[in-house]
């Protein structure tokens, strides 16, 4: 059994009907449980639960303090290439777009790494589009081996690969994998990924499993909010995380909440995720999975990120540049895949974290 079977089980489930019937006492009962099942999770994700956010927040905070302490892990992304052969209709970098493309040379990657490492960052997330002709495995391996000199943990957010490719990258020095399903709803998935490799829903869905089998110690998944209906997407993403936690007990699982805010050359988001629901999802996920990592990127504003801090999140990116060469090469014409709205420096974000009574953690891993 794979997670595809779980998705299939819920294909005919009438989310709207279920959610419409959730009462406050259902929410209260789910909130009181120590171990939450899928229906508890749904109750907490329901519109009804929005009236109990404060209660949910209190418990989420308490559980998070207990399991993670008052700490927030920090990392930064490093975009090495934005060439892409995919057709994602919602992305400004899809293969039909005329956006200017850039692929960093190893020397350029080293300059970027130096700047990021000087900011104090020890955990790096390496990103690239899907264009194996331009960024072949050897290039990726060389990149990772180079970055090992500068960072103690290396994550990748690239494109779905097979297990052997992941094993090679693990040998090169990668320890964690980030891969977003984008949308769990199969019909919408098909619509927004009309052709090319990414059109294969199942292959993408099973990518975290292949990464876990290849031996990565951490796997980070997410839906891209804006494509599918928020509650069912949030629900399936959490079930996905739970499935991975159970199947691969030695892997740390985390979830992110990337959300579309505007059309960046592609389609407009059909289902905007409001702040209130964004917070509700964090709380519900935390109550459902006490040890789940929850990552918040600089897509979110400084003010919002400050307020999310005590609610159950565990990891922030900081000082991020989301354009290729954004740290050292300063290409004014480069367009970013998504806008950074929290533009503070690593030091400023760390200071905010300290001011809120938390410890910013720069190093939490090392490949020994």
């Amino acid at each position: 059994m794979s997670f595809l079977d779980v998705v299939n089980q819920f294909e005919t489930f009438d989310f709207d009907a279920y959610l419409g019937d959730v009462t406050l006492s259902d929410v209260q009962q789910s909130l009181n449980r120590d171990r939450l099942g899928p229906y508890d999770l749904l109750n907490l994700l329901s519109g009804t639960a929005q009236d109990m956010l404060e209660e949910m927040a209190l418990k989420s905070q308490q559980i998070t303090h207990q399991y993670f302490g008052r700490t927030i892990g920090l990392y930064a992304p490093l975009y090495i290439s934005d060439y892409c052969t995919n057709h994602c209709t919602y992305c400004g970098f899809n293969c039909t777009s005329n956006a200017k493309r850039l692929k960093l040379s190893l020397e350029q990657i080293e300059s970027e790494a130096q700047v990021i490492s000087d900011m104090g960052i020890r955990h790096i997330l390496v990103l690239t589009g899907e264009a194996p002709q331009i960024t072949p495995m050897e290039y990726l391996e060389d990149t990772i081996m180079l970055l090992k000199k500068y960072f103690s943990s290396i994550g990748i957010e690239m494109f779905p690969m097979d297990e052997d490719a992941y094993r090679r990258l693990k040998v090169a020095g990668v320890d964690s994998l980030t891969v977003y399903q984008e949308v769990y709803d199969k019909n919408i998935y098909k619509e927004v990924h009309p052709e090319g490799k990414k059109a294969d829903y199942a292959y993408r869905l099973l990518t975290p499993e292949r990464g876990a089998k290849a031996g990565f110690r951490a796997v980070n998944i997410a839906p891209l909010f804006g494509l599918g209906k928020p509650v069912s997407e949030s629900f399936l993403a959490a079930l996905h995380a739970k499935y991975l936690e159970k199947e691969f007990p030695d892997v740390e699982i985390s979830l992110s909440l990337p959300r579309m805010t505007k059309a960046d050359g592609g389609i407009s988001p059909r289902h905007l995720l409001p702040d209130r629901q964004f917070v509700q999802f964090i709380l519900a996920w935390r109550l459902f999975m006490p040890r789940l990592g929850i990552t918040i990127s600089t897509r979110e504003s400084a003010d919002f990120r400050d307020k999310l801090l005590p609610l159950g999140v565990t990891r922030y990116s900081a000082g991020s540049k989301t354009d290729v060469g954004g740290y050292a090469l300063k290409d004014d014409e480069a367009t970013a895949q998504f806008e950074v709205t929290d533009t503070r420096s690593v030091e400023e974000v760390s200071q905010m974290i300290r001011d809120k009574g938390f410890q910013p953690v720069f190093k939490d891993w090392e490949i020994f």
């Binding site: 303090h65 207990q66 399991y67 993670f68 302490g69 008052r70 700490t71 104090g120 020890r122 103690s152 110690r217 936690e245 159970k246 007990p249 030695d250 892997v251 740390e252 699982i253 040890r291 300290r354 009574g357 938390f358 410890q359 953690v361 720069f362 190093k363 939490d364 891993w365 090392e366 020994f368």
Partner: protein, 260 residues
């Protein structure tokens, strides 16, 4: 029978008058660590080697630990014996001393130790001269095997890490205390000073407390409370031992006359 006056714990030639071991994780600020150590009296503190960043001069966690406190580097993050061994060797090379707490965890949901891999790592590291303190699932057979493998102590868990649920494994830990030829340090799950006292009263040689102190609203006061609790529990244990000794040495005070 421990001497009540000089009741110290000796591990790897180091003498500890405090039987409270502490940890460095989960604090809201690292600057709390030295204050907590002072308030609690703890003389041994564990630190995850994966969190140590020697290149960080400002905020290197080791800078927060006074020289008078023994460093107990741990192998947190290791999934196999091999990884634990590698981490231990790096810790020694990095100047973290001879002590090593072996933590091999392959279950991220409950953070329970893998006894089999832990035993393998203990065997290797003890031969290399480390003072090995293995974090373990309470198991009598494994306790004996760890002793044979050269462990300096065993560290059975009271409850899963970070749960604050106390001595859920109490019956098993009691048995281990009875049979173990090396000190027993109850590690993980202790959420309240009263639970620490209970473990000591049972005869544990020491306890390791991290989450309950680090995530408390006032880690310094909490550390102090745990310091007292461990002492109180130890005194209770010693006084009971004394009573038992008295009974034994009086050689049948009630029925001895029958020999006459």
């Amino acid at each position: 029978m421990p001497d009540k006056q000089t009741d110290t714990l000796i591990l790897g030639d180091v003498e500890f008058s405090s039987r409270l071991f502490t940890g460095t994780g989960k604090f809201s600020s690292r600057s709390l660590i030295p204050q907590m150590l002072e308030a609690s009296g703890s003389q041994m503190i564990t630190v995850a080697l994966r969190r140590v960043d020697p290149s960080d001069r400002q905020d290197n966690i080791l800078n927060y630990i006074p020289d008078t406190v023994t460093l107990l580097p741990n192998t947190s993050g290791a999934r196999t014996a091999q990884e634990a061994v590698r981490i231990a060797r790096i810790a020694r090379e990095a100047g973290c001393g001879r002590f090593i707490k072996i933590e091999v965890i392959t279950d991220m949901q409950y953070l329970l130790p893998d006894n089999h891999e832990t035993l393998l790592a203990t065997e290797i590291l003890a031969k290399e001269g480390f003072v090995v303190l293995p974090y373990m699932m309470p198991d009598i057979t494994v306790t004996k095997q760890l002793y044979d493998a050269g462990a300096a102590a065993v560290m059975p868990l009271g409850a899963p890490i970070g749960t604050n649920r106390g001595l859920e494994m109490k019956p098993m830990i009691e048995m281990i205390i009875q049979v173990s030829k090396i000190p027993v340090v109850v590690d993980a799950g202790i959420g309240r000073p009263s639970q620490a006292a209970e473990a000591m009263e049972m005869g544990a040689d020491a306890v390791l407390v991290n989450t309950a102190i680090a995530t408390s609203q006032d880690p310094i006061l909490s550390g102090k409370a745990f310091g007292y609790a461990v002492k109180a529990g130890r005194m209770a244990y010693l006084s009971r031992m004394a009573e038992e000794k008295l009974k034994a040495s009086a050689s049948s005070p009630l029925t001895g006359f029958l020999r006459d």
